[in-house]
């Protein structure tokens, strides 16, 4: 297979020409459309794309002989612009947790071909018609183990808010999502009664913690960096970033209590030319052995139930969906955020500006 890759564009051009000249009957007799020389998969970039390359991309290239080109970053605005332009560059794209359902509602995605993308080993609620749930992640509390040794870290957001018992500079994200939930949990709202969010109460609660937040982070890499640099001793952050530090032996650990669970998603932009191969790429992404590679490296567990069978046992307690961790967390209500993102964001901006 390999030695022909250099010639494939010519073969392709030839077959394209033939298809154009010959009668449609012959074309429709072909069950598979002609192979392009590449498909484009858009994802978060950085370490994530290199792990994708080792797992899903390599497997797809082996299976179909089509090169996978990766781009980044994930950009919802760009997805919309691409679909509206009628010629999306991406064959498949990752979609930020809160945006997947919105993308589907805005008719930006191709439906998934269930005869190709087999999700029988997925939880019932993770088999959407248009969205492939690729992994779960959580916004949890990262802490320095030298500041809080022997399990003395704050457990949950009420304790994070308690600056007398748990002193030290802290960091939260400069964004309303998660923080409003954390503020309500800190104020005593039970985890199963968070939604619909009481904005007034949430912002009143945030007023109390505000003087102790030395950094409002805006890039996903920041919380880990802030902890390593001792800029802060406590920070909210995406668990994969803390997972990586813990695995590398840095004095950083994750407290899952009160964590905000979300799922990472992939979709096929509507109107993309290689949708057929996009479906096949999605099929590759459901394979448990490959999901395990990603899960082990990133700490973001794949949704196939059999994935955990291929993950080293000692790493399983560090996963957000591991028994013992998942019960302590809540699932972010994507529907609420889809409906209220603009209002919440505007209030958040106003609140941030008020000093």
């Amino acid at each position: 297979m390999r030695q022909f890759t250099g010639r494939r564009p010519w073969i392709l051009a030839g077959s394209g020409l033939a298809a154009g000249l010959l009668s449609p009957a012959i074309v429709s007799a072909q069950t598979t459309p002609p192979k392009p020389d590449r498909i484009v998969v858009n994802a978060s970039g950085g370490a994530m794309n290199s792990i994708f390359r080792r797992s899903y991309f390599a497997a797809f290239e082996r299976l179909h002989g089509i090169r996978v080109v990766d781009t980044s970053p994930v950009d919802f605005g760009k997805l919309r612009a691409m679909v509206e332009s009628g010629n999306p560059e991406w064959t498949c794209t990752e979609i930020g947790g809160q945006d997947a359902m919105r993308a589907k509602e805005m008719n930006l995605l191709e439906p998934l071909d269930t005869s190709v993308v087999d999700r029988s080993d997925y939880p019932e609620n993770a088999r959407d018609s248009h969205v492939l749930t690729s992994s779960a992640y959580t916004t949890a509390l990262g802490y320095r183990t030298d500041a809080f040794p022997n399990g003395s870290q704050p457990k949950g957001w009420a304790e994070f808010w308690d600056v007398r018992r748990f002193p030290g500079p802290r960091s939260l994200r400069n964004h309303p999502a998660d923080n409003l939930e954390f503020a309500l949990l800190a104020d005593g709202v039970p985890m199963d009664q968070l939604y619909p969010l009481d904005l007034d109460r949430a912002f009143r609660s945030l007023d109390k913690i505000r003087p102790h937040i030395t950094v409002w982070w805006s890039a996903g890499a920041q919380p880990a960096q802030l902890l390593v640099d001792r800029e802060v001793v406590l920070a909210s952050g995406w668990n994969g970033r803390f997972y990586e530090l813990t695995r590398r032996g840095a004095p950083v650990a994750t407290e899952f209590t009160g964590g905000s669970l979300k799922s990472g998603s992939f979709g096929i932009p509507r109107g993309t030319r290689q949708a057929y191969w996009g479906q096949r790429f999605m099929a590759v992404m459901t394979q448990p052995e490959l999901q395990a590679v990603y899960t082990t490296e990133m700490g973001y567990p794949g949704l196939n139930r059999r994935t955990m069978d291929f993950v080293p046992a000692e790493l399983i307690p560090l996963m957000c969906t591991a028994p013992g961790n998942i019960e302590k967390q809540f699932w972010l209500d994507v529907a609420w955020w889809t409906a209220n993102a603009a209002i919440a964001q505007e209030r958040w901006n106003r609140w941030m500006l008020r000093r």
Binding site: F76, T214, W216, W217, R230, N349, R350, M352, L353
Partner: protein, 285 residues
Amino acid sequence: MSSPAADRASPARRRELALLLLGLPALLLLGVLFAWPVLRLLSMSVADGTLHQLERVVLDELYVQVLFESLKIAGLVTVICLALAYPVALWLTKAGRIGLTLGMFALLLPFWTSVLVRTYAWMVLLGRSGVINRMLRDLGIIEYPLPLLHNLGGVLIGMVHVLVPYMVFPIYAALLRIDPDLPRAAEGLGASRWAIFRRVILPLSLPGVAAGCALVFVLSLGFFITPALLGGGQVMMIAMLIEQQVRELLDWPFAAALSAVLLAVTLVVYAAIGRLTKGARLASP
């Protein structure tokens, strides 16, 4: 039969036409790739047939306040850049070949590094246990770390670092254009070095100063990554809000309205700088 005056004018006009033809490809490119998309973006803000989106921007305290904050930061960055850049530009005109090469290298090097990388580098330098704070503490100068990062100061440092070359080069170019006989003549007439600088060099370099200020000011207004990362949430600039509307909230008409207001403010400032330095330009040869 044409008048002698028209005969004299026509070659000049022909030359002008030829020059216009030379510029035409660039103008077309700008028109298609810049002016047209900008117009389309701006038209989105009034696509619903009302001025509602624009009203939302100008009547809302939040956006007005952020706009003023952005103008303030852009102004501060411009002033600091000017103060830093002018001596450097002056030195470059006087430096020998080695000095010039080194100076140019130091100025150009940041251009080859991404803004994001440089911003992270500043985080390493300015942090609570960053290089600078650790050094000062080891030297016994301070007891507690200085808050250099995650505030307005950090944002200014990061932005000035990115933008200083944009100030140096126009000023340097203006200084190079000054006829060396002019300061020499002033010297011959008994002017002191300070008087030469104040009455000859400085006025003649003002067009460069104006160009540099306009460039730095306008670029500052568009910054969003640096203030987001180095400001730690304490600094909000209008470009950050536009990015939020475009990428996250997908409210493009409102983003277009914010952009339109920013563009209008930028043009006003640009015109003001032009007006202020008009006299200076007339004075230059």
